[in-house]
Amino acid sequence: MTLQDQSFQPQALFNVAKLPTSRRAFLKAGAAAGGGLLLTLTVPLLVKAAAGAASAGASTLNAYVTIAADNSVTIMSKNPEIGQGIKTMLPMLIAEELDVAWSQVRIDQAPLDAAKYGRQFAGGSQATPLNWEPCRRAGAAARQMLIAAAAAQWNVPASECTTSEGRVLHQSSGRSVTYGAVAERASTLPVPDLAKVAVKDPKNYTIIGRSTPGYDSPKVVKGEPLFGIDHEVPGMLYAVFQKCPVFGGKVVTANVNDLKKMTGVRDAFVVEGGSDLHGLMPGVAIVADSWWRASKAREKLEVTWDEGATAAQSSAGFAKQAAAFRGQAPQNSLRNDGDVAAALSSAAQVVEADYHYPFIAHAPLEPMNCTAHVEGVKVTLWAPTQNPGPGRTLVAKTLGLDESKVIVNMTRCGGGFGRRLDSDFMAEAAWISKVAGAPVKLVWNRTDDMQHDFYRPAGWHFFKAGLDADGKLIAWQQHFVSFGKNGNYARSANMESTIFPAGRVPNLSMGVSLMPLGVPTGPLRAPGSNALAFVFQSFIDELAHKAGKDPLQFQIDLLGKPEMLPGRGAGFHTGRARGVMEKVREVSGWGQRKLPERTGMGVAFYYSHLGYFAEVVEAAVGNDGQIKINKVWAVGDVGSHVINPTAAENMAQGGVLDGLGEALNQKITIDKGRVVEANFDSFQPLRLTQAAPVEVHFVTTDNPPTGLGEPPLPPAIPALCNAIFAATGKRIRSLPIDTALLKA
């Protein structure tokens, strides 16, 4: 299966990766993935609106564009908005090629409709690479139809007509007409071949590349009800749902009859559920006339649980198992270049290091919630989801309904970070509505959210590397300990064997050992990379220091000549990585400034989700070990265009700070099969006082534009840890950073 195939499967975002059985198998998959993503973009079907679908006086030219007689233009935004700015950005692409003024544009959230829009989801920083071509072409096709309509009206050749700001112009006769005036006629014309429509020369762009504020922000700052949790249905009841604190546990008995007597409680019942941790799990539902009363009833809930096998698992147990693996050969080999053993024995210096990172949670600020209304064989949902298609599939499966009977309305999401790629909360809401016989709004509390997440999996990496007498890296041996069974990784617990410096070290081996896990895991913003960047880029920094080299120059030397190496998408381009490293050297004044004592600068780069980011962190470490981040410089290469610069900067700053928050604050602890942390006191997102200024730069290169939700995050973590080393000489090999180890 190629990466392209996968990107249109619900599972694709979940990294259900099977271990390659051999080096050869890997290369095959890698090659397919290499060409696939960017070459075989699907073009959206330009489905004509059914008669009457557009509002009166407006004409629909294709699935995205409707133009009213008053020349207002409504553009559909196909994907869920989770804060990544997609509701503004995708319509910018369409409006650019449609050639309208941004002030004419109204944006509507598109319904879930695969026939019109293809896959609709927010994940993997994929919206930009997947839609850059199709959305612009949808706009260009509509423009071509409008020109054809005006040309026919004037009886002139279409080739003599031009457009500007929502008008068709015929220069030689001086005539002009608004799009609105010819839209109806245009909507009756044949849809042009998308592959052949003319698109603008980028130098004529007026919208792409211009900072465009978030379309819904005026409503956000006034507190208008945009989010899933804000949705209301007449006659709606409120629900809470208590699952077993131990993952996979079942209900034996519950005092639901007592709860039913409480004020305002309309129903309380046991949900048998299943055993798929991503679906409807066993639990107790309480339905009341207010969420507060449902929550109060929950305090009186008494459940006897059958906790099941996961109750035997704990973070401490995982660490013990990892330590046992350390002394053994990896269960599976991922890659084996050259002769690592021989190179290590001939090395002038051998460096050993053990790295570890913990489980962490997503904790988007809007807790999981969903409003569902089951009416007979039909169900309507209003869901803050990143992944409405698979959500619909899960709900249909859970209720035993046909998918065509499940209507999913996408609402704005109060953050996603990958959590809302899973649809468990949608299945719960639908089931509770069905049993309660009423529309129901299910709202999780923060503890539900933190204790029933799909966590970024923990991991351990045991390294041995060899440097020759000149400080050149000649051997790299890496034993990755992760989770999974039967050669299958747990979700998002995999490691690709193409990560730099693979391909640049003559003798390199990577192997993996897996232990079983009952805790559900899943993609967290920059899945894989958010942990692996810390490990790889910190260890390379260690090696640079041992080699007596400048860490930035050491990496540039190691990148070597500019060329494409195997990797995600079209591959990993060493020249693009070098480009962002050179630029961050320049903008950060790397090596140019004298820093105070216990202040240091660290650098790291990472290639993830098709984007290249290099970052420098300047941090000061107090004698008490407290870390103060003075500043971060981030340089990105996401291709030929930064589509919406204000949003891009915001997203890059957010990604960098998110990474720093993970490094400084975050850890989820498993004890007896359950999560210990319960709210924002024990699991802290970054706060304002920890937020350093982040200066963002972009390097543009002649490559198709790619996404920004994820790539800025991964290098922030190792750049910080490397800065701490520069400041204190203490190497951070375990996250979150233990400041007690940094005392002077």
């Binding site: 804060g83 208008e224 009800p225 409120y238 207010s290 600020l365 924002f680 006191d681 970054l686």
Partner: protein, 164 residues
């Protein structure tokens, strides 16, 4: 229990249990959804409203404790000079990512600017550190507060304009 609340200058009669947090009264009884639920424990600031001009966490305030004090929420803060300036600055700086925290951020910032017309970075730190932005729009939040404060004429101590 019946409570007569004054919210954004209008009176509302609500019939809720005495221990119901103001947050849920606003959202589910009065149907003002701008005040957000983030943690229910006073840890995130998403539910910040003003009671008698003070910024408070609505999730930690029982409706029975509101008394006669006027409540202002994000839906009403734009009627004050400070609130209007902050909302304008928020848009000019393009602060919002997901936007879920921003009502609480603006409400905390409005209380700050009402008491302190030109806050220093340290003042902003002290006032705003309790408001989590999970999307980490912090530098723009800081910038928007400063922009709203710069040369700001908030009217008479930021009191609501007439007719609010």
């Amino acid at each position: 229990m019946h409570y007569a609340l004054t919210i954004n200058g209008k009176s509302h009669d609500v019939d809720v249990d005495a221990d119901t947090p103001l947050l849920w009264v606003l959202r589910d009884a009065v149907k003002l959804k701008g005040t957000k639920f983030g943690c229910g424990a006073g840890l995130c600031g998403a539910c910040t409203v003003h009671i008698g001009g003070q910024a408070v966490r609505a999730c930690q305030t029982a409706v029975s404790d509101v008394g006669n004090h006027a409540v202002t929420t994000i839906e009403g803060i734009g009627e004050t000079a400070v609130g209007a300036r902050l909302q304008k600055a928020w848009l000019a700086v393009d602060v919002v990512q997901c936007g879920y925290c921003q009502a609480g951020q603006i409400m905390t910032a409005a209380a700050l600017l009402t008491q302190n017309k030109s806050p220093s970075d340290a003042d902003i730190d002290a006032a705003m550190d309790g408001n989590i932005c999970r999307c980490a729009t912090y530098s723009r939040i800081r910038q928007a507060i400063k922009q709203a404060a710069s040369g700001a004429d908030f009217g008479a101590n930021g009191q609501p304009r007439k007719g609010a």
